[in-house]
Amino acid sequence: MNHVYGWLLLLPAAVFLLAFTHYPTVATLMQSFFSESTALRPSVFVGLENYELLAEDEIFWKVLNNNLWYAAGTIPTSIAIAILMAIWVNRRLPGRGLVRMAYFTPTILPMIAVANIWLFFYTPEIGLFDQIGAVFGMPSQNWLGDPDLVLGSLIVMTIWKEAGFFMIFYLAALQSLPPELEEAAHLEGAGRWYFFWRVTFPLLMPTTLFVMINAVINSFKMVDHLFILTKGGPDNASSLLLYYIFEVAFSFFDESYAATLTVVLLVLLAVIAVGQFVLMDKRIHYR
């Protein structure tokens, strides 16, 4: 009787999860094995044909490569900055609340708004960066129009957006560390730097793992800014996996191929998340 009751309580949540998460996932997987239906030809089972197509798709490889660089460029830097900012605002400093808020502001802005702000920063000639550059005699740059610069420009903006968000997690973790630990370490002769690497950083590892998984997922999930800033251009130099999926599905209307790309993205994310857990779990101290 008791577990019937338990299952009944679980039912509403389970229904929504099945309908909106698990079913679409399975449906996407199925669709990736079928051809796209057209007015003339209905959808038929094609096995791995879509995946063969994908393996030969140059744009896919380019976009995947972009995404890996984008992740590598944003994640370690934004985590490092987040830790630095958290340690800084965890100190007793005047106007601490204001500084914390200032660091956190980018997080509460929608990505679309952020992109609009940065569009102004990056505009050639009249943008903020070019104007500052001009003061020091630097030539004007087409930050978003130059294939060599565009991904870097997106990375910088993303770090600006993400670091404050991650800082909040580190700040919470730092505040749960008893201050006597630092005092004890100082009495043993340890300096700030030594204490950070020997005590603070290891004790922050659970937070780092959490933040890392979030950061990885985010780096594959964030596309909003591309709509405003670059539309993936020039020549796909700034296109990311999810944006490419969007284009395939809603500009080229090839839903089967979009489903195939989606499956690849899901597998990629799952492998990364599981890998992080397995790799790091042994070395993390959970309190």
């Binding site: 008893p178 006597e180 630990l181 005092e183 004890a184 370490a185 100082h186 009495l187 043993e188 002769g189 340890a190 300096g191 030594y194 020997r198 005590v199 290891p202 004790l203 101290h285 309190r287």
Partner: protein, 357 residues
């Protein structure tokens, strides 16, 4: 020779004064206890000596050197925290040798010192455990080991036993005192527990609202309390204090019809007498009424009244109040303490009336 010297040291936060003009010295190899009720500035004093808290005014010297503005990491002092402050991700061995690694002591020497210290505090089989896998008493030992492996000679302890249960607290008390004597350490020990202070200290400094109330050996504090505050802080139960009034043959306990207890005037004075010095007698004495008993095993604490003033009496063994609760009390004249009723300060040279005579 004194290794630690505080000269007119004060500490205030904004307007709030936590430590007010403290001056004292700690002798080399001695055990000093800072005693006082919660919030009286014990921890603040200790933390200023450690360098964890800045000094508002005054000078601190260690081994003759002015360290008032020296950072904690340069003072070569070890400390045991109330919360133990063990590093949760490091095992027992790494916690203990934390400071040796910081100071780049060679691996062979580290191992040797670790083994010696682990034996000393009895942590032999537990070196690879994390703090979360240790009991409270074992964590306490790790904290102690970390403090003594540094061989700094000076160790500060801030209520190190207050998180332990009563039995363990007693054992550790004996053990810490033994360690201190064996290793010749200079210890400054903070506690609010007067029994701890009495049993461990070479010298006790009693603090009250940031000021030093009395300084002396445990015997001094017990036998010659300088103020009514000292008198009522030391001893369980504490000293009985009575207001006195002028009477016919000398000072009498006010609001009673009993005979004189002290030669001379009584108004404006207080009389102090410890519960263990009062005897219940069939003969002459001060009339009292027994109210209740509290049996503790080795002795019984009897609460009573003399007129309107209540007091406690410690009787050896088991004690029952008889059919007639009205009894006479007496005490030896040398057990009597006299205090000024206004200032609370001790008054010497008054002669007590001996009821036995």
């Amino acid at each position: 020779m004194s290794v630690i010297e505080l000269v007119n040291v004060s500490k205030s936060w904004g307007g709030a004064v936590a430590v007010d003009d403290a001056t004292f010295t700690v002798e080399d190899g001695s055990f000093l206890v800072l005693l006082g009720p919660s919030g009286c500035g014990k921890s603040t004093t200790l933390r200023m000596i450690a360098g964890l808290e800045s000094v508002s005014a005054g000078t601190i010297r260690i081994a003759g050197n002015d360290v008032t503005h020296l950072p904690a990491s340069k003072r070569r002092i070890s400390m045991v925290f109330q919360s133990y402050a063990l590093f949760p991700h490091l095992d027992t061995a790494e916690n203990i040798i934390f400071g040796l690694r910081v100071r780049k002591v060679a691996a062979a020497e580290r191992r040797e010192r670790l083994n010696k210290v682990a034996d000393t505090v009895g942590l032999g089989g537990l070196l690879d455990r994390k703090p979360s896998q240790l009991s409270g008493g074992q964590r306490q030992r790790v904290a102690l080991a970390r403090a003594i492996i540094a061989e700094t000679g000076i160790c500060l302890m801030d209520e190190p036993l207050s998180n332990l249960d009563a039995k363990l607290r007693h054992d550790m008390r004996v053990e810490i005192r033994g360690l201190q004597q064996r290793l010749g350490m200079t210890v400054i020990y903070v506690t609010h527990d007067q029994a701890e202070a009495m049993s461990m200290a070479d010298k006790v400094i009693l603090l009250r609202d940031g000021r030093i109330e009395q300084e002396g050996t445990p015997e001094d504090l017990y036998d010659h309390p300088a103020t009514t505050f000292s008198a009522s802080f030391i001893g369980t139960p504490p000293m009985n204090l009575f207001d006195l009034a002028d009477g016919a043959g000398g000072a009498v306990i006010s609001e009673t019809g009993s005979g004189p207890v002290l030669d001379g005037p009584g108004q404006g004075f207080q009389l102090g007498i410890r519960p263990e010095h009062i005897r219940i007698t069939a003969g002459a004495g001060i009339a009292a009424r027994l109210l209740a008993t509290d049996y503790l095993g080795a002795d019984t604490i009897v609460s009573a009244r003399i007129g309107g003033q209540s007091l406690l009496i410690r009787m050896p063994g088991r004690f029952h109040i008889g059919d007639d609760p009205n009894v006479n009390l007496r005490w030896p004249s040398e057990a009597v303490h006299v205090f000024d009723g206004q200032t609370g300060n001790r008054v010497n040279g008054r002669r007590a009336v001996d009821h036995a005579a």
